[in-house]
Subunit: 683 residues, 2 copies
């Protein structure tokens, strides 16, 4: 091992005359997979960084947080001081001003002047003579003088020289030590003092997203079902007319399944029949026909101009369109002829269709992303995304990303975000947990989750504790869906309307980002294709439907109320403050979310049993809610769903929830602030 | 972001025609600080490695563990298969044959042949035609043929070609699919089959030590106290005569405080008096006089030949000598004149003595490891260690390593171990937790701990859980000392003999490596210099003492018995299986250790109150002891200290311990193996 090979912290010591850095920096947070991936944050919000910064001996160690926008050629680092928290831990913060990728690093050094002054004070306090020590201090100040001169800070340099001269001069030891401890010397030496044994970490990365990446309500619908009746193919213009209603209900994102031409070869019929009957519309995910592929609009839906008009209407109403990026082709997709090299060929000369042996999906050809012409294919996919970005789309829901190379996504998302840092990618990967995590790490802004299959209290608590209390919180943003066109869970099928309400409220309060496959959920249409199936009967995936969303008893008004509660309460706009509270009953789940300043605290209690009323004690974790001092005092619980107000006392209170009438409380804890960290409760 | 910048796992994709690796490898264990440091293991013992290895899609993924001795120029990698554990986790193992540094890496790839064959079986099971699929398989086998040919494995290549020919030939589909699934095809394809989308991690490091690094009993003494009486300076020859007794008591290591010439300038007197009286012998840590420095033997102790003789006697008795490496100089050390540049100079021309302001230690000059001539100084220190290695020393107890640069130790220890992989360095750093951890990470084989100050049940359980259940277990080997020449804890001062026995048993059973500052502990001499001090009265650090180790009532026989128990029970020779068990009383602590195969299980129960008998229920964690199936059966607890045998039933049993007679049980759980994982207990 040579001297040059001695590394301190993660910093390689340069092969210079100076010894390796004295300072070691470890345990930097946030950090995903040892820094391989970026942690996710929101632009305009503070990013807190912590690190262990330590050195041998007893000298004072100091640290700074360096940060900058990540650019190809780097840029100037901004610097913020880090505060010591004790036990060699330091904390600093910065705020990324706009969406984009940022780098940060931690720098640590031995503060010779500060250490000297601390020791000087100790000597003075026991009356030791400090003449020689003051001369040592003067020498340290003179080093700072040199540094200031070198940088052209001549005024500072002159003043430092004056201080050094006084320190080693003939004044009284008392006067001289007071000068050394003064504010002026401190400020100048903080700026110019020698930073001995300095170490700096490798840069770590932060992705700063816009707020929509963290908080939003999505509505999914099939445009073709919004024609004037169930025999007439709906259009994008029909959907545009629906936008004011959706905006009025508080939705932020309108998500459309693929809007491209649909293949004819091996087209599936109604209820996924192997063969389509004449007039069957086919699955929107069998993308491509003679009319075009991934950059074309299905003629029956309208034109590209109609799409632009839909985007414009959404924008007018504060919403935006999310498109489905499904990287697969029908046998009629133009690429099949134009780029046969992008598909896998079988020894009999046919193109390999999709399959999950022994199941075959002959209406779909997968793309071979590892083929010889992979670069062309990858660029073509990027071209598709750029095309829709050019039409105002900034949100992409990616279909089955786990069946395409992970590296494709890392590259694609980075490329798109370099041009459009506000772009959002939602990963629709329902697969093995580590693959889902990897997709989130490598760049997906948001991810579908197992929420749909987590129905018991224990399942929900375990899963959401993992999402919000492990390293996942740094990179995995959950998007919660009570239902999707592919998943109609048994719980909804059996629980009916009460289960729909229960799962809707769970999704909208457990998840700052949630979505619904709207029409069936609003109308509580939970009929399965057959028993044991998660497919809808007469699924819109294969046929037109017609929905009466304004009929008596639909969930529209409730959904609107919930979305309004979400918008009015910052606690529900984030997931990192989620806390579960103990309850007596397996059917009763209770959790809270709060704003970081504890000004807005929401407590939810939900009946998980759609068939039975539940009564049970809820035991609030008072400390987590900043209420530890009020263990035996009363406070008000304001149910934002019903506007009822309850008086609670202490941690343990009883809740009763009837699935038919009110399956959940969404309480706002009402209290009046007395000081920053102490509250006085109403009543 | 360019294609080349797409990395998968920790592997940078090469800028070639091939797409980036499909496989991602994360979560590799063992790994210290993201791979910055080596994990510690024992040569000749199995190193288990786990990793998450995953890829997109549904193809079979496989993984291999690569390992080799770490050498300047690298070397051939050995390879071992890794077994899938489920949930994308894989496990493999290798055994480092000898002490030294090793590297390992994990490689993962998509198994095209295996995936193809799995799918083939699924097709066959539902009676699909597989003609085309067999031709696809033939093509995969032909790729393996090419690989085998390329490597010169002509026999394998020929056989593979034959298999390919049959697969695409005219035989029945059944016969051909049987051939594809056969053992021969499997073995050949495991060896030569295409490894698609292959990824490999950066190498991680393992330090393999000899067993003594994990397990050993140390005895510390001041040689000068073993003269014929308390007025005559003892010698190394006197100590050599003591070796058979220490070996007989079961000690492995004889640790000597510095044996070098002692300075005269500012020499300390008895009980750390500021000035020595004539005849005072001074502190051995004030190293260096006109007779020499760190490579000289104090003339009053004898000669280098006497030292060599002591090393030889130890070796003869299965023991070895540990030397104290204290990198500081008395003002009379030869380096002060020969290398004034290695010391810090004050503006008044004097050399800076050691201080912790306002305290001054004028008998000691610290070395300035960051001085301009640091390379020369660092090499000189290495020279000192090499000198004593040349005299047969392989264990160094390093004094206050935390007051010297961390990088010095990383470099020094690596240099020494490159020549002497069996070298052991014990860090005597009693300082802030993260600095102690850093020293262990960067290379110290063993570390002193806070054990000495952890006296209550809660303190002990918390501390030893941290040591054995967090990342610390990978790099921090605890060396437990009930007492040292610097630390006579209040608990011993007040608890007297019972406390000495209690702390001795705790150290020897909680720690596979433990040590005692022998003479005071054997004789229970726990008198403090003054109340509130952790210093001994008439400390050997400043004067000669005379010890009657064979007097009535000393702890010698008990210590010998404990060391024999340690040697006879593999459970006590490791720390990684430590488990604490619940007890009813704060004065009663209970813990177990076991051999990995659960063949040897030791349960200790210790009374932590030296003044009072304790009775209480112990509730064993039966699962941790491999006894879950015997919850309601009886078994035998054999107290190895007293040879008494107790019959226990189930998890909860009562224990009574009298500090005066038997403050602890060291039980061996007696049972007869019925099968590998099932035991039948003795009545």
């Amino acid at each position: 091992m040579t001297f040059a090979a001695v590394r301190t912290g993660s910093v390689q010591a340069p092969r210079t005359q100076a010894p390796p850095a004295r300072v070691v920096i470890t345990g930097v947070e946030p950090r995903v997979d040892c820094g391989r991936y970026a942690a996710k944050r929101i632009a305009g919000e503070c990013v807190t960084v912590e690190a262990d910064v330590l050195a041998d001996g007893h000298d004072l160690v100091r640290a700074a947080l360096l940060w900058r926008r990540a650019e190809r050629d780097g840029g100037e680092w901004a610097s913020a001081p880090m505060e010591p928290l004790g036990n060699d831990r330091f904390r600093g913060a910065f705020t990324p001003p706009a969406p984009g990728e940022y780098e940060f690093a931690v720098e640590g050094w031995v503060d010779r002047f500060g250490s000297w002054r601390r020791d000087l004070e100790r000597r003075v306090s026991v009356g030791q003579s400090i003449g020689v020590d003051l001369r040592i201090g003067a020498a340290i100040v003179r080093e700072a003088t040199k540094e200031a001169s070198r940088t052209g800070a001549d005024t500072d340099a002159r003043r430092l020289e004056e201080i050094a001269t006084v320190l080693e001069g003939d004044g009284s030891e008392g006067e001289r030590s007071v000068l050394a401890a003064g504010a002026e010397a401190t400020a100048l030496m903080d700026r110019w003092g020698p930073r001995e044994g300095r170490a700096r970490t490798e840069p770590l990365r932060i992705i700063a997203d816009r707020v929509r990446a963290r908080f939003g309500a999505w509505y999914e619908l099939f445009p073709r079902s919004f024609g004037p009746d169930d025999r007439t193919h709906g259009t994008l213009r029909d959907v545009a007319r629906l936008v004011p209603r959706l905006a009025g209900m508080g939705f932020d994102v309108l998500y459309l399944p693929p809007i491209h031409p649909i293949g004819r070869t091996f087209r599936k019929g109604r209820n996924n029949a192997e063969r389509a009957e004449p007039g069957d519309v086919g699955s929107p995910w069998a993308i491509g026909g003679p009319e075009g592929g991934h950059t074309a609009v299905h003629p029956q839906l309208g034109t590209l101009e109609d799409f632009d008009a839909l985007v414009a209407v959404c924008k007018e109403h504060g919403m935006e369109v999310a498109l489905d990026l499904a990287l697969q082709c029908s046998p009629d997709h133009p690429w099949v002829k134009e780029h046969p090299e992008w598909f896998r060929h079988r020894p009999d000369g046919t193109i390999q269709y999709a399959e999950n042996p022994p199941k075959r999906y002959q209406d779909i050809y997968p793309l071979d992303f590892g083929c010889e012409g992979w670069r062309g294919l990858w660029e073509a996919v990027l071209g598709v995304v750029r095309f829709w970005c050019g039409h105002g789309v900034r949100i992409f829901r990616v279909d089955n990303p786990h069946t395409k190379p992970l590296a494709l996504w890392e590259w694609l998302i980075a490329e798109v975000r370099e041009e459009h840092p506000e772009a959002i990618f939602l990963s629709e990967a329902f697969t093995r947990p580590k693959v889902m995590k990897e997709l989130a790490k490598l760049g997906f802004t948001q991810s579908y989750t197992y929420f749909t299959w987590r129905n018991t209290k224990r399942e929900l608590e375990e899963y959401f504790t993992e999402l919000t209390r492990t390293e996942m919180r740094e990179y995995f943003r959950a998007s919660l869906w009570p239902n999707t066109p592919d998943i109609l869970h048994e719980h909804l099928q059996q629980g009916g309307r009460a289960a729909c309400v229960e799962r809707l409220i769970l999704a909208a309060t457990l998840g700052a980002t949630y979505g619904i496959y709207g029409p069936p959920l609003e109308t509580c249409d939970v009929r399965a294709r057959e028993p044991g199936s998660e497919e809808y009967r007469n699924s819109e995936k294969y046929q037109l439907r017609h929905w009466d969303l304004d009929a008596e008893g639909t969930l529209g008004p409730l959904i609107a109320r919930i979305n309004r509660i979400r918008r009015e309460n910052p606690a529900l706009q984030r997931d990192d403050t989620l806390v579960f509270h103990r309850t007596e009953s397996e059917d009763l789940i209770c959790y809270s979310k709060s704003s970081p300043d504890l000004d807005n605290v929401i407590v939810c209690a939900v009946n998980l049993n759609p068939w039975r009323e539940v009564w049970g004690t809820v035991e609030l974790d008072m400390a987590a809610l900043g209420m530890e001092a009020q263990e035996d005092r009363t406070y008000q619980m304001h149910d934002l769903l019903t506007d009822a107000r309850y008086t609670w006392r202490g941690a343990r209170n009883v809740v009763g929830l009837n699935p038919a009438s009110s399956p959940a409380h969404i309480f706002r804890v009402r209290r009046r602030a007395r000081s920053e960290h102490e509250f006085e409760y109403y009543l």
